[in-house]
Amino acid sequence: MASQQHHHHVAPVKYYVATFATLLALTILTVAVAQFDFGAMNIVIAMGVAVCKASLVLMFFMGLLWDKKINAVFFLTGLLFLGLFIGFCVLDIGYRGDTDPVESLQYGVKVPVRHAEAEH
């Protein structure tokens, strides 16, 4: 019975060791780069390195590379919605007021100018 069972992909140890070494190297890189100020690029560089590290963990440690594709489809669909969530919120906070008139209220949050009386 056991011989009829399909056995899963067993990755060679070298893949795990190489992933581990690369993750450590990228950690050192991200800490080293953070000691310099690149202005607005700081967050772009830090997130770029983080995305590289996350991809390595997902592909090798979590085995998405060798796995059934349906698992990757599930994961990437979820990421798409996370992207929509973050993307639209960042666009809102970054560009609010560029097309419609706004005024600054408390806490520095911009709100649309209201013309309540003009509408009646």
Binding site: A46, K53, L58, K68, N71, L82, I86
Partner: protein, 216 residues
């Protein structure tokens, strides 16, 4: 012939599955659905972070200097190492190496414990110096919005730390079951699933570390 043969417990496939493969695939897809749900609920906190960071960039830069990037970096190394040992534990189960499986699980547990110890030191320093959320804040800062940063810091790392603690409990459970010989090449579903959960905890920290400790 004095070859020592490890005794393994045979796994019974639940009756509603065709075979072991069917059972394993169903569990794994369910696990991925759970993991993406985890990412989406952490997503809310990341959105809060990005919004407040966009509103108060100077405050974030000042506040993040109160966090030690050295301790954060050490914790990053602890978590990455524990992720590696967890991946090796899953691999050991796949090739029925019981002793290695237990060894790698114990190592993973210890690195997770190391992470929590460093976290404890960090939290105590913050609490002692008053770098706390909202009305509990009594540290010194140029900006009156600084408690916001520490609100985000404690919520994000606290929720993450809770996941580490839960993970440690699950790993301890795996160690007990591995010791009974329950995991081998024909059945290692719980090891694989806890492994995926553990890598997710690492994954979230990979983003928390630069956002909170490095660039504020």
């Amino acid at each position: 012939m004095t070859t020592k043969v490890t005794q393994f417990v045979k796994h019974q496939v639940a009756h509603h599955f065709d075979n072991a493969e069917h059972e394993f695939d169903a569990a794994k897809l369910g696990m991925w659905a759970f993991l993406i749900q985890e990412i989406l609920f952490f997503g809310g906190l990341f959105v809060a972070y990005f919004i407040f960071r966009a509103m108060y960039p100077a405050m974030f830069v000042e506040a993040h200097h109160h966090l030690s990037w050295q301790l954060g970096g050490l914790n990053t190394i602890f978590l990455i190492t524990s992720s590696f040992t967890m991946a090796m534990a899953v691999r050991s189960a796949q090739v029925s190496q019981k002793n290695k499986l237990i060894l790698f699980l114990v190592l993973t547990f210890l690195f997770a414990g190391g992470f929590m110890c460093v976290k404890y030191v960090e939290y105590m320093t913050k609490i002692h110096h008053g770098y706390l959320p909202a009305k509990w804040f009594f540290g010194t800062g140029t900006f009156d919005t600084e408690p916001l940063f520490f609100g985000l810091y404690f919520t994000m790392t606290g929720l993450h730390g809770l996941h580490v603690l839960i993970g440690m409990g699950l790993i301890a459970w795996l160690i007990i079951r591995s010791n009974r010989g329950e995991f081998h090449k024909d059945y290692y579903t719980p090891v694989e699933m806890v492994g995926l959960y553990w890598h997710l905890v690492d994954l979230i920290w990979i983003f928390l570390f630069p956002l909170l400790y490095l660039i504020g």
